[in-house]
Symmetry: C2
Subunit: 215 residues, 2 copies
């Protein structure tokens, strides 16, 4: 599914959701985003911001209203959202909420090539990650508790979600580390052997070869 957006960068979504409040010039959008704490989960990249705004205008989702030349120097163009822009915003949110897309979290990628490291080292790294993650979650939970006295829950849902997911990662990780530590992880011996001898047991080597029949 996942329709191709005319402007695909997620920063564009943030921009749209910001200018829907009132017309703004690009730098102000960035400020508002920052103020809303969006810069946390979405580092604002200056190059992208201006490109994205320009593209949104090109596709009729934003329109330039006025060029204010106030005190300071460079003309600042103020943009407002168009009807098409409002529609795009809604449609995009619909897609994001309604249809799960395959994601590719960095840990998944890491795990998929974990065998490149010897088991002991991999285990140690995962243990480290577990510790860091736990601490971070703790801190973030405290932060949320603090902030949620002022900000209504509706504007914190994504943080809640994030916390829930990370908590799940912790649980899963803890059990994996456990298996690795007490040796119950199946195939540990083979993994170890591979790093000592440099070879896989023949039956596995064959498996790893699959797909190489071409040529």
């Amino acid at each position: 599914m996942a329709k191709r957006r005319r402007v695909g960068n997620l920063l564009a979504l943030a921009v749209l959701s910001t200018v829907i409040q009132r017309p703004m010039h690009p730098y102000e959008m960035a400020s508002v985003l920052r103020e809303r704490g969006k810069d946390q989960d979405m580092k604002i990249k200056w190059g992208s911001l201006y490109t994205v705004v320009a593209n949104l205008e090109k596709h009729g989702l934003l329109a330039a209203t006025e060029s204010v030349k106030q005190g300071g120097r460079p003309e600042r163009t103020v943009y407002e959202i168009t009807d098409a822009g409002r529609e795009e915003l809604k449609d995009w949110v619909r897609e994001l909420l309604g249809t799960p897309e395959p994601e590719q979290p960095r840990l998944a990628t890491g795990l998929s090539v974990m065998a490149a490291l010897p088991p002991a080292e991999a285990t140690e790294l995962l243990r480290q990650r577990l510790a860091t993650l736990t601490a971070q979650i703790e801190a973030d939970r405290a932060m949320v508790a603090e902030v949620s006295k002022e900000i209504p829950r509706l504007f914190m849902v994504e943080t809640e979600y994030d916390l829930a997911i990370r908590a799940a990662e912790v649980t899963w990780l803890a059990s994996l580390v456990d298996e690795l530590t007490n040796g119950t992880f199946p195939g540990l011996a083979m993994w170890q052997a591979y790093h000592e001898t440099g070879y896989l047991p023949p039956d596995l080597a064959e498996l790893a070869e699959r797909g190489s029949t071409t040529e």
Copy 2:
């Protein structure tokens, strides 16, 4: 932290982890990746593949060994991994496993602009997502059970992880949908009112304005 990689595309990691087995030409790498089921979580993009391989060579992580001109036509260059490449692979895996980086899952983004839709619609979409997701997980679990008869667990860890995370999403989503459905979600009334009248309650409007003090 997150050191800048000379070749940053995650496809490069997949390539490195593939050529470490034996020298290959690009198309073969893609085949092996596909055979290993990597194309599932990582659509192979042809343009990127060749660019990435070229870049890896440029940075000395891969080296061209021979140009076979066999039967068919275009010269196929076979690449082998270098020592630097092996080091980079390990280092990269270390980083991916050891240090949690802030991610930005699409649902989180969606949730952060959820207020753009009226609550009823948002709820319905989330309900939909929940259904799709549940079904997908069910199917994938069955698939894993099947495949894991042949493939050792070590090569399925990332799928397991993925399943665990998605399961957590289901749990969290279910409880959110619940709150939205039976009206216990705090701020629902205000959210609804905003979509009926087009205005936020004044105290919230003020909150939403924060950061606009510039100018």
